[in-house]
C-alpha cells in the first residue's frame, strides 16, 4: 500500500537552517547536512531544502550546501529557492537534488515548469504555492503570495494549482501562510480544496504542531504528504515517534524505516 509521506523541511539562510514564525522572527536551528542525515535516520520519507531568502535578495541557491547535504542522503531530496531557469535547475540537479521546487519564477513565467520537466521529467518538478486566506470569502479565494510571502499576486491558489498541473508539475507543495509556524494545525480546508482540484500529489505544509494535526491533514485535508520543519528541529517530535503515532491512528506509514 502506498504510504503517506512525512517530509522534513530545512529552511536555509546563509548555509544555516533557520525557522521563522509566519515567515518572520528567524532563529538558528543548525547545519543542513547534519539535520538532513538525522531526519533521514529517524525515518523522514523525504528531505526538502528551501533557500528562503534567495528570491528576496536575488541570490542563487547555495550549490555547495546542496552538494554537502545530498552526499549521504539516500531518500528523495528536493531543493527550492531562487531557481529561475532550466539551467539553474540543472546545476541544482547536478549538485545532488532529485527534485526542484519552483515558486516565484513559475508564477512570473509559467513555461518554466514545462521547460524543466522536459529535461528532467515531470516527477522532478514541484510547484510550491504559498497561499493566504482572504477574510470573509470562500476558501477558493485564498490568494497566492511570492517572494517568501512578501508579495501578493492576485491569483487564486486553486486556479494556479490547476494551471501548474496542466503545465506539467509532478507535485504541489502547498503552504498555508496563515498556519505556518503557529503549530496550531494545518489548514485542512485549503489543502482539501487544492487536493481535490488536481490529480497530482499534494504536500501540505504550515502549522504542524502534533501528531493529531498530521492525521487531520491526511484525512480531512486529503494530503498525500505532509511537511514540517520546526517541530523536528528542536526535538519536539521525533519523526519515528510521529510515524508510529500516525500508524496507530490508521494512517499508512513506512515502518519500520
Amino acid at each position: 500500500m502506498l504510504t503517506k509521506r512525512i517530509i522534513a523541511c530545512l529552511d536555509v539562510r546563509d548555509g544555516r537552517v533557520v525557522k521563522g514564525v509566519q515567515f518572520v522572527d528567524i532563529v538558528d536551528a543548525g547545519d543542513p547536512a547534519e539535520l538532513a542525515a538525522r531526519h533521514a535516520a529517524a525515518g523522514a520519507d523525504e528531505i526538502v531544502l528551501l533557500d528562503i531568502t534567495a528570491t528576496h535578495e536575488g541570490r542563487g541557491t547555495l550549490l555547495s550546501t546542496v552538494q554537502r547535504t545530498a552526499q549521504r542522503l539516500f531518500v528523495p531530496f528536493t531543493v527550492g529557492g531562487g531557481i529561475r531557469t532550466a539551467d539553474e535547475a540543472a546545476a541544482v540537479f547536478d549538485a545532488g537534488a532529485d527534485k526542484i521546487s519552483v515558486n516565484s519564477a513559475a508564477l512570473a513565467r509559467p513555461e518554466l515548469i514545462g521547460e524543466i520537466g522536459a529535461q528532467f521529467g515531470a516527477q522532478a518538478v514541484i510547484v510550491a504555492i504559498d497561499a493566504r486566506r482572504v477574510p470573509g470569502t470562500k476558501i477558493e479565494h485564498a490568494e497566492v503570495f511570492v517572494a517568501g510571502g512578501r508579495k501578493p499576486t492576485g491569483r487564486r491558489a486553486v486556479e494556479w494549482a490547476r494551471e501548474a498541473e496542466e503545465r506539467g508539475a509532478g507535485e504541489l507543495l502547498l503552504t498555508s501562510m496563515d498556519a505556518d509556524g503557529t503549530r496550531a494545525g494545518f489548514d485542512c480546508e485549503l489543502t482539501a480544496a487544492v487536493s481535490e482540484a488536481v490529480q497530482i500529489p499534494v504536500i501540505a505544509s504550515g502549522g504542524a504542531g502534533n501528531a493529531q494535526h498530521f492525521t487531520e491533514v491526511f484525512r480531512e485535508g486529503r494530503a498525500d504528504a505532509a511537511l514540517a520543519a520546526s517541530i523536528f528541529h528542536f526535538g519536539i517530535a521525533d519523526v519515528r515517534a510521529l510515524k508510529e503515532a500516525l500508524q496507530r491512528d490508521g494512517i499508512p506509514m513506512r515502518l519500520p524505516c
Partner: protein
Amino acid sequence: MIAVIDYKAGNLTSVMKALRAAGTDPVVTDDAGMVRRADRIILPGVGHFAATRFLEERGLKAAIAERIDAGAPFLGICVGLQWLFAGSTEAPGCAGLGAFPEMCEKFAPGKKVPHVGWNSLAIQPGSRLLAGIPDGSFVYFTHSWRAPVVQDTAAVTEYGEPFTAAVERGNVMGVQFHPEKSGETGLRVLRNFLELPGC
C-alpha cells in the same frame, strides 16, 4: 567495468552516488564501444519512454543485447525496467528491448498519478536481486506508466492494481522503484546486483 548508460533521460547524480556507496565506481557512458567492454550494465532513467529512442540511434541497444547474450548482468531502473518490455503506450512508436513481450501502460484512472512515494514489495521467493530483503519492505516510486505482472516478475506492488516492481530472468533484471532513493533497502538491491556472478 560497470557501465551506467547515459541516454539523456534525467539526472544520474543520485544513481552514481548510491553505486559508490554500494562499493563500486562505475563509468558513465553513451558510447556503444564502451558498453561492449562492460562486465555489468545499469540503465537508469526517469522521464519519458521516448528518451529510450537514443539507445537505438546510438547503437546502444544492439550493444546491450550482445552483452546480455554473453551473460553480463543487466539492471534497468524505472524507465530502464520498462524498456526491457516490448514498449510503452507512453511512446507507441518506440520499441523496447523486448526481453519480456508485454507492453507497459498508464495506471488505470481513479488514482492520482504519478504514483509517488514509498510503497511495499511482495517479493517472490528465490529472487537473487532481492535476496535478504524482507517481504513487505518499502521502496520509493515515482512513475505514471507501469509494467504488468508477468511470469518473471520478482516483486509485485499494488497501486489501484498490481504491477511489476521488479523483474528478473537470469542476468536480465529491472526495478520500477528507485534503489538509489530507497534508503538501506535500495542500497541492498544495488549490492545484490553488483555481487551477481559476471560473465
